[in-house]
């Protein structure tokens, strides 16, 4: 079985997971702003509904990914569990804070009081701690700082925290989460009949987040050229598919900026669908570009790398039909979940 197959069965759930993670993290900030900046509890509830539904799908896909990583990319998970011990613990703290706080925030939303504020802060803080932990894995596979030897496994868990690629990657993540979150909130605000100062403010937030995304990208690419030459040159090579997705990212980013400016200036009203599609395309093409350009390596070490096959679980004799069959069934259930969530949001809470 080709290594590409295993890469794709990891990449597909990862990309779907990322879409919903961006939506739920971003809308949690929007909901908090709607309540505490604009004092609009009803809008805050609607945005929180989108957040909870997004969390539901991203949470289940997160579990899918953990099993895929542990079962198929076992050696990689083993490296991460040991060398990136602290970041994973930070992500775990984030999960511990985030999920119960969502319940608390939801329940106390229309009851006011400082408890809701505290739940909201803990929900947002916890939410952003999760990528704080997991982005270290991405920084590590672009530049494996802290790893001394793979053979036998040795590393420095504190040195791993000093990865120079982490800060821009995290800024980039903050930018993309807020960009998607604010942009997705705009159609919800419009459909709910709110506009005026509130709508314009969210447009402005989306604009600032997109600029943060842009700055993060530039900073990250600059550091990639210094620390991860292979990835950098692949991304800029027209023979590599990631070059084109990289281009798509820039086009969609500019398009989003244009849409926001046009709407802010009152030139024309942009179709709601674009606010869903364009930022998600920008985010997905960014993830795809930075991920795919490391192929055929999994861990890039400057101008070379460690082959993806090194991290593939080879201890088991397994057939394509077995892994592929279960994967297809899994993805079918993912579709059912997404459809269920769509009906929950759109039909149950917005049309009634």
């Amino acid at each position: 079985m080709g290594i590409e197959f295993f890469i794709w069965i990891t990449a597909i759930p990862l990309l779907i997971h990322l879409i919903f993670v961006h939506i739920n993290l971003g809308t949690s900030v929007s909901s908090f702003i709607a309540k505490y900046v604009f004092g609009d509890v009803s809008l805050a509830r609607k945005l929180a509904t989108v957040m909870v539904s997004g969390e539901f799908v991203s949470g289940t896909l997160g579990t899918v990914l953990t099993v895929i990583l542990a079962g198929i990319w076992t050696p990689l998970m083993n490296v991460a569990a040991n060398i990136l011990y602290i970041p994973l613990l930070i992500a775990l703290i984030g999960i511990v804070l985030r999920l119960p706080s969502i319940g608390g925030y939801w329940y106390t939303l229309d009851r006011g009081g400082s408890l809701n504020f505290l739940f909201g802060i803990s929900m947002i803080l916890g939410g952003f701690l999760i990528p704080f932990g997991f982005r270290y894995i991405f920084a590590f596979i672009n530049y494996p700082m802290g790893l001394k030897t793979l053979n036998p496994l040795e590393g420095d868990i504190f040195e791993a925290l000093m990865n120079p690629l982490f800060p821009p990657l995290y800024v980039l993540t903050l930018g993309s989460v807020l960009m998607v979150g604010f942009a997705v909130s705009i159609p919800i605000i419009k459909r709910s009949g709110y506009w005026g100062a509130l709508g314009r403010s969210f447009l402005l937030y989306a604009l600032l987040a997109t600029l943060l995304f842009l700055i993060g990208n530039i900073w990250f690419i600059d550091l990639l050229s210094k620390f991860s030459g292979f990835l950098f040159s692949n991304m800029l090579s027209p023979t590599n598919p990631s070059f084109y997705t990289f281009l798509i990212m820039w086009i969609s980013m500019v398009m989003l900026l244009g849409m926001i400016v046009i709407e802010l200036k009152g030139i024309l009203r942009v179709n709601n669908l674009f606010y869903f599609i364009v930022p998600i395309i920008a985010m997905l093409s960014m993830e795809f570009s930075y991920g795919y350009s490391r192929f055929p390596y999994f861990v890039v070490t400057g101008n070379s790398g460690i082959d993806a096959a090194t991290f593939l679980n080879v201890s088991i004799a397994v057939g394509f039909s077995e892994v592929g069959g279960v994967f297809l069934a899994l993805m079918s259930m993912v579709v059912v979940s997404i459809v269920g969530v769509y009906y929950l949001i759109v039909r149950k809470y917005f049309e009634e």
């Binding site: 999960i95 090194t310 201890s315 088991i316």
Partner: protein, 484 residues
């Protein structure tokens, strides 16, 4: 090192127990909701349908928080026992992979059920949806039990364990690459390092290219009879335990004046009583499997430091109360008299003897826990007979309201304790190994030493999520919030 292992084992035990609370509410909840939904049709009584909805809400809240505690346990497992990844990557791969499917069935259909509860008018649609959710939750539990069972009885390793421990049985067909596993074992013993050090990349890959894949048949864990008996035993225990909590809540409602809840409560108690009988059968089968495949565990449970009879087990299993079961004296003697067939520089006979003495240290504890478990199970069984009787004579609930309530409280406490003790016996009984006869805990521990921060995050997180689950259930269901 010993302290670290002890702490890590303790941490895992606490984690699993806390996570088990939400699992019991989910698995029992969907099964009981299904029962009530069917009864609502058979009895043409809408109150069963309403009750099924309330129980499904409990189940859904518990599912959400179970996902939180499950994530914490999952991460804890990978971070604290990173050598366990080898088990996930081999014998556990397909059970875990299909478990995801079960998890997705639950998650996807729960969303559909919330959406459709008041929209789907046909009760058969409700039954179909709840059945699928109950199937998903039970399947999810079953597949995790398959992996745990493999750790108790490493099915598919053929005579490998017997080569090291001459008293051990054969564990099914030989699907395992014996030479590779022995090589790994040799490295671990001779270098005294955890598995995780050699699992990353080149060393392991080189071993695989030299000896071939470790596992030829990835479905090995599914073929174990021990595993399927464990699944049945555990799922029934989970439904009885979780069901008893629902019965307790319904009893409180009844005592507070909700008269219409009495009939569903009695039906539920009858259902649990029937399951107690079924559990008797599973318990017997489980015992037979333990005798067959985990001789040292059975010796611990029966207190057999010396070989001897166990009249009840002897009679029920072999039809002979004087049947002599092998004790630790027998295992030690067989080991001493054996000659190793292994071509290795390591003295495996010495290791086998050392392990037996280590296992012997657990005997008093396991024996006491098991005896207490059986005593409480018998008492709970007797109480369940009273529940059967009261179903036939419902007036007893009106005449002896307080007494019946105390019986429900006792039953619930007893079955919860029995389940907890059963799990403790299962886990402690396989010591000193984590994978029976193959791997010790110190071989599966992570490179990073367990520290107070990790302990605080895992335990704190579990307690936090559990507390919020209880508060949410209280606020949402007891006080009937309008938002759920």
């Amino acid at each position: 090192m010993n302290n670290i292992i002890e702490n890590a084992l303790g941490l895992s035990a606490i984690g699993i127990y806390l996570h088990a609370i939400s699992i019991a509410l989910v698995i029992a909840g969907s099964s009981i909701a299904l029962l009530f939904e069917v009864l609502s049709i058979l009895r043409k009584d809408d109150s069963y349908h309403e009750l099924a909805y309330i129980i499904m809400k409990f189940s859904i809240i518990a599912f959400a928080f179970g996902a939180v505690s499950g994530t914490i346990v999952e991460f804890g497992l990978v971070q604290v026992w990173s050598g366990f990844l080898m088990i996930i990557g081999t014998y556990g791969l397909f059970p875990f992979y299909i478990e995801l499917l079960a998890f997705m069935i639950e998650a996807g259909l729960i969303a559909l059920l919330i959406y459709g509860w008041n929209r789907f008018k046909n009760r058969l649609v409700h039954i179909a949806l709840i059945s699928a959710i109950a199937f998903g939750s039970n399947l999810s539990g079953a597949l995790i039990m398959l992996v745990n069972s493999w750790m108790n009885v490493p099915w598919g390793t053929g005579e490998l364990v017997k080569l090291i421990y001459p008293w051990a049985p054969t564990y099914g067909p030989d699907y395992t690459n014996e030479a590779l596993l022995l090589k790994i074992k040799e490295i671990l013993i001779s270098e005294g390092r955890p598995l995780t050090e050699i699992l990353s990349g080149e060393v392991f890959n080189r071993l695989v290219s030299e000896y071939g894949p470790l596992l030829e048949y990835p479905w090995a864990a599914f073929e174990s009879v021990y595993a399927w008996v464990s699944v049945g035993h555990q799922l029934v225990a989970t439904i009885i335990t979780g069901g008893s909590w629902y019965a307790l809540l319904m009893t409180v409602r009844y005592l507070r004046g909700e008269k219409k809840i009495l009939q569903p409560l009695q039906d539920l108690l009858l259902f649990l009583a029937v399951l107690m009988i079924v559990q008797g059968v599973f318990g017997h089968d489980m015992g037979v499997q333990v005798i067959k495949y985990q001789p040292t565990k059975f010796a611990m449970m029966a207190g057999l430091k010396e070989s001897g009879p166990d009249p009840i087990v002897g009679l029920t299993t072999f039809g002979d109360p004087n049947y002599v079961f092998p004790g630790f004296d027998y295992f030690i003697e067989v080991t001493k008299n054996s000659s190793s067939h292994l071509n290795s520089s390591i003295d495996f006979r010495e290791i086998a003897l050392r392990d037996l003495y280590k296992a012997l240290e657990y005997l008093p504890l396991v024996f006491s826990l098991y005896s207490l478990k059986i005593t409480l199970a018998v008492l709970a069984g007797l109480v369940s007979l009273i529940f059967m009787y009261t179903w036939l004579r419902p007036s007893l609930w009106i005449e002896r309201k307080r007494l019946m309530s105390y019986l429900v409280i006792f039953f619930s406490l007893a079955v919860t304790t029995v389940s907890s003790l059963g799990w403790a016996v299962r886990e402690l009984g396989r010591k000193p190994w984590t994978v029976y006869g193959l791997f010790y805990p110190e071989e599966l521990i992570s490179l990073v030493e367990l520290n107070p921060v990790t302990i605080a995050v895992i335990i704190g997180g579990l307690i936090l999520s559990l507390s919020i689950m209880v508060i949410t259930i209280y606020l949402v269901l007891w006080r009937r919030s309008r938002w759920v």
